[in-house]
Amino acid sequence: MSELLKVPTMAEFMAAGKQPEVLFWVGCAGSFDDRAKKITKAFVKLLNNANVEFAVLGTEESCTGDPAKRAGNEFLFQMQAVTNIEVMNAYEIKKIVTACPHCFNTLKNEYPGLGGNYEVMHHTQFLKSLLTEGRLTIEGGKYKGKRITFHDPCYLGRANDVYEAPRDLIRKLDAELVEMKSCKSRGLCCGAGGAQMFKDAEPGDKEVNIERTEQALDVKPQIIAAGCPFCNTMMTDGVKNKEKEGEIEVMDIAELIANAQDL
């Protein structure tokens, strides 16, 4: 499959004297994490399939600085931000899409103050717009009629009030969308945000991802849909912890759409 992926870089576009329609910001998880790389590829397949002229920064991309900022290291965050902004401004980037809500939030909200002004979209918003423009078709395929619950990523939902784009896409799969007890603006965190992903949790009586997984299991889904590579990891671990990995899949929305079309 992988030989079919077309992943041009900004440098290649520049060399050809062209501008892509959109920059795909892959993010650190999407570049390096084995699970998240599958999401990245699924999204690229969808972009290729919809003939979207996109480019990636490739080796010129660097961490947005989100985990450093939330950990309290404003200095490191701004160093990262200013470096990335320099690269993107040199390429005259106007529009960015990313599959990571943390990158999304940082690029969209925290880069403008440092000189980086771009239109930033989460991949679910972007896919929704492709759908509206008729460039992407979504079929249910093997997900038709499946019970799917969506776990709201904090940095997409509460942080930026994006609740409907991912849900609209799931509905398009002809799936049965079921909501957990805490959803949308009251969605419970997966436990990874605020740099928690990179450290052990403080002493307590439970891990946050277990609590959230239990909420998900309560609605008896066949699939837990995620829109964030970190939530994906946390929920996957939660499902494994409950020994339900045989029955319940944790999938990114991009993967669901790509798989449904056998891409």
Partner: protein, 442 residues
């Protein structure tokens, strides 16, 4: 009796309002100890937020039972204040029911007050049961032990007593009106206190007058006492909810402020033309170097401090907090309570030392809020979303993390590793930046 009651009333009113005004001045002074931030943008949106969230109680109703009961108490509180106005004018002029010239309108008003007073009474009793019998989890957290628990109950007792006095006063008045007692002209309608008539109808007019007057005096003195209790309690939200929602955050919740002091330094480091040996600009040598982040209340912004005074310890933030739900020490409500307690301590220090703060060797970080609490936060904004009056505990947590990391290098080791990775290879994990596109061919 002559003019004596009027004089006593005027004195009581002056003492009550004067003492309250003095405490309000202290609150304003303490809030101004905070770092200055400009909140003068987008006034129309701010007014709208205040109208919707504070006046309209829009976020209270996300929890329907508490929200509904709270609205009764809130509407009761606001509307019954019209009655307080009449009581004050009566007290100062020596008249009885001065607004009764309004005739039927007055009857409707008094009738409404009575219904609301009864509603408040019922709501407050249910609130008491929720706190003391059902023992709702969010009122039982460790930070609610001792004074905060008593404080919550004292407020409820105050309200029960005030409403009972109001209804007793009206009931005795009605009986006196029916008896045709001198000075008690027919005025008002009494849908609730009329049920007290069976108790009153056997009493003499003299006894009834004593009951009516006693209830009247204790009612207004009770209100003055309640007003002054506010400053010592967690109940200031009845006033501060309005400025607090006005000055609430208008940006997306995920957008954290970029520290300007850091930007200046970063820009200088990135500027190839910057002269590292350049003399500091005129006057800059005398400036105290900026402190990164917050370790005490004076480092926080005045909005954070206003937030702390506004918090009424309802605990919706804490009950939505993923860290707290899973047994971690972090409780966003405690962050707000600690901030207020420390601010009060600093304020008292300033009072004692004639207007200057004398270093007491304590600070918010460590003496009130521990590192463990700060590091348990996932920055998920659930607490911010849950607050019915736009308080932002996360903002305080982040400023304190900044202090820990940038001033003390006191991040947990794993986070230091993560940050070193970002510094060295542009990712939180130890992967080479040159391998960033390898996924394409895997």
């Amino acid at each position: 009796m002559g003019i004596l009651p009027q004089i006593i009333f005027a004195i009581a009113l002056c003492i009550g309002l004067g003492y309250f005004a003095n405490n309000v001045r202290k609150i304003i002074r303490n809030i101004k100890l905070g770092r200055d931030v400009d909140m003068s943008d987008d006034k129309p949106q701010r007014w709208k937020n205040m109208a919707r969230i504070a006046l309209g109680q829009s976020k209270m109703v996300t929890r329907p039972i508490a929200g509904f009961l709270h609205i009764i108490v809130y509407v009761g509180f606001v509307i019954i204040n019209i009655e307080v106005l009449e009581i004050i004018i009566d007290g100062l002029t020596g008249k009885h029911r001065i607004f009764s010239f309004a005739g039927q309108t007055y009857d409707i008003l008094i009738g409404t007050f009575e219904l609301l007073a009864f509603g408040v009474l019922v709501a407050v009793i249910i609130f008491w049961i929720r706190r003391n019998v059902i023992k709702l989890k969010r009122f039982m957290s460790s930070e609610m032990k001792g004074w905060p628990k008593s404080d919550g109950n004292i407020i409820l007792y105050f309200e029960v007593v005030l409403m009972c006095l109001f209804l007793t006063m009206n009931g005795a008045d009605l009986q006196l009106q029916l008896n045709g007692a001198a000075g008690y002209h027919t005025a008002g309608s009494f849908p609730i206190s009329q049920w007290l008539l069976p108790i009153f109808d056997s009493l003499s007019n003299a006894t009834l007058i004593i009951i009516e007057r006693t209830a009247w005096w204790f009612h207004i003195l009770g209100i003055l006492a309640f007003l002054n209790y506010l400053y010592f309690s967690k109940h200031l939200h009845i006033l501060l909810a309005f400025p607090n929602t006005f000055y609430g955050n208008l940006k997306p919740k995920g957008q954290f402020e970029n520290l300007e002091a850091v930007t200046t330094e970063v820009m200088m480091m990135m500027d190839p033309d910057a002269d590292p040996f350049a003399a500091a600009p005129e006057g800059a040598e005398d400036e105290v170097p900026a402190k990164f982040g917050a370790s005490d209340v004076q480092d926080l912004s005045w909005v954070n401090l206003l937030n702390a005074y506004t918090c009424t310890e309802c605990g919706r933030c804490t009950s939505e907090c993923p860290a707290n739900q899973t047994g971690k020490k972090l409780s966003p409500r405690k962050i707000m309570m600690d901030t207020r307690d420390r601010l009060e301590e600093v304020g008292k220090n300033i009072d004692v030392n004639k207007g200057v703060f004398n270093d007491d060797g304590k600070q918010l970080l460590g003496d009130y809020i521990t590192n463990e609490e700060l590091w348990a936060c996932t920055s998920c904004n659930a607490c911010v979303e849950a607050c019915p009056v736009s308080i932002d505990p996360l903002n305080i947590i982040m400023q304190m993390r900044q202090y820990l990391v940038m001033e003390q290098s006191a991040a947990p080791m794993e986070l230091n590793n993560m940050m070193t990775n970002i510094e060295n290879n542009g990712a939180p994990w130890p992967y080479n930046q040159m391998d960033r596109l390898n996924w394409k061919d895997e």
